[in-house]
Structures are given as structure tokens and as C-alpha cells.
Amino acid sequence: MLQLRYFASLRESLGIGDEQVELPDNVHDLPGLTRWLQERDPTWKSALADSRLHVAINQEIVKVDAAIRDGDEIAWFPPVTGG
């Protein structure tokens, strides 16, 4: 299982803040997971196409080609604006 999380404007665009999905067989990295989500639903297709989005795996910011393992928590969010 993967724990997926969406924050802020992305959460609002998608209409959900988190979901659990089975790790798809052919998904081994972030580009693969993103593609799988985009093919699953047109809302994800456009929302995850935003190049400004950051991704954290297990609560650490990762690069765009990061590996994905079963059990990971993957979060997408826009640039942070706290402080």
C-alpha cells in the first residue's frame, strides 16, 4: 500500500487530502507513480502537471526521479508559504 497526501491548493483541486492505493506492479519511481495517477483520472492529469509542485516521500523532500517502495507515504504540495 502507498499513502498519498495532497496539500493546500492541490488538495482543493483534487477534492481529497489523502488516499491509500496498492502499489501498481510496474511502478518503481516517482515519475511512474505520477504517470499512473494521471492516467487514472483527468483531474490528476492536469493537477500533477504543475511543475512547481514539491514531492516528499516519508516526509522528506525528494527529487523528481526518486524511487518508490511499498509502504511509502508520498505527498504533493505547492511551494510553501509559512512564516
Binding site: 488538495r11 505547492p78 510553501v80 509559512g82
Partner: protein, 141 residues
């Protein structure tokens, strides 16, 4: 020490705590307080809501504090960030550093707030008279 909370904080009590926890050792304390402004990008803001990523937020703040303590000679540091609905002039964030040397305290405090603003997973949403909008990174204080 780091704290993420919905409640307000008392900057004076926090500074007092920082001071008394290191009696006589620190000669300098520098603090930054971030407040909700009533105007942003020309529009009147009536409310500001802070969303965050529980778990990751605490890790990010702890790392910021840790790096500051590695880079500078500090006797104490503190980061407090509020989440949830806030109104203009409310406190948002409090960052403080105590040191024997004022320059170290200034550099550490500024590093912590600068890094928080680019790395800690908080997002601001403004309520205006005619709707809401997410703050863009370049608009933040």
C-alpha cells in the same frame, strides 16, 4: 525547542523562558515575530488560514533548529509556528536565538526564519472581501 500550535503565544514569556533557561551565559537574544498583515498584494485580508503537514512540519523545524545550532554558537533556540484560522495582527511565527555573541544570534535567527519560509510545509490561505486565495511564495513577508 520547536512547537506547532493553534493557540497564540506570548513572545515576552518565551523570551523570558529562553533567558532563564541559560542564566548568565547568553549575552544576546534575537527574536523574529511574524504577524498577519491586513493588506496583501493590494487587497484587504480579513482572515488567514495556515495549513501544514503534521509530522513533516515538526521534522522540518527540528532540522532547521539543529542546523542553526551546528553553524552558530548558541545557548538556546526556539521556533513556534501557529496553524489554523488567524486574523490580521495575530502572531503567526516566533523564532529566537540566544548566544554569547550578538552577531551569532542575528545570523542564526535570520537563518531559521529564512529557511522555515522556504522549507517548512506550511501554506497560507487568505480570505478577502470577495473570496479566498492561496498565498503565492513570492508574496510572503
Amino acid at each position: 525547542m520547536i512547537r506547532v500550535q493553534t493557540e497564540d503565544f506570548d513572545a515576552g514569556a518565551e523570551l523570558e523562558q529562553l533567558r532563564s533557561s541559560h542564566k548568565g551565559q547568553a549575552g544576546a537574544m534575537v527574536s523574529f515575530t511574524g504577524l498577519v498583515r491586513d493588506l496583501n498584494a493590494g487587497d484587504t485580508v480579513t482572515q488567514m488560514t495556515l495549513e501544514h503537514y503534521p509530522g513533516m512540519t515538526e521534522k522540518a523545524l527540528q532540522r532547521i533548529e539543529q542546523v542553526a545550532n551546528e553553524r552558530w554558537e548558541l545557548t538556546a533556540t526556539l521556533i513556534i509556528h501557529r496553524v489554523g484560522p488567524l486574523t490580521p495582527n495575530n502572531n503567526i511565527v516566533f523564532v529566537a536565538a540566544a548566544s554569547c555573541h550578538r552577531e551569532q544570534a542575528f545570523r542564526a535567527c535570520e537563518y531559521m526564519i529564512d529557511t522555515l519560509k522556504t522549507e517548512a510545509p506550511f501554506w497560507k490561505k487568505e480570505t478577502l472581501s470577495d473570496g479566498t486565495r492561496w498565498v503565492e511564495q513570492e508574496n510572503s513577508v
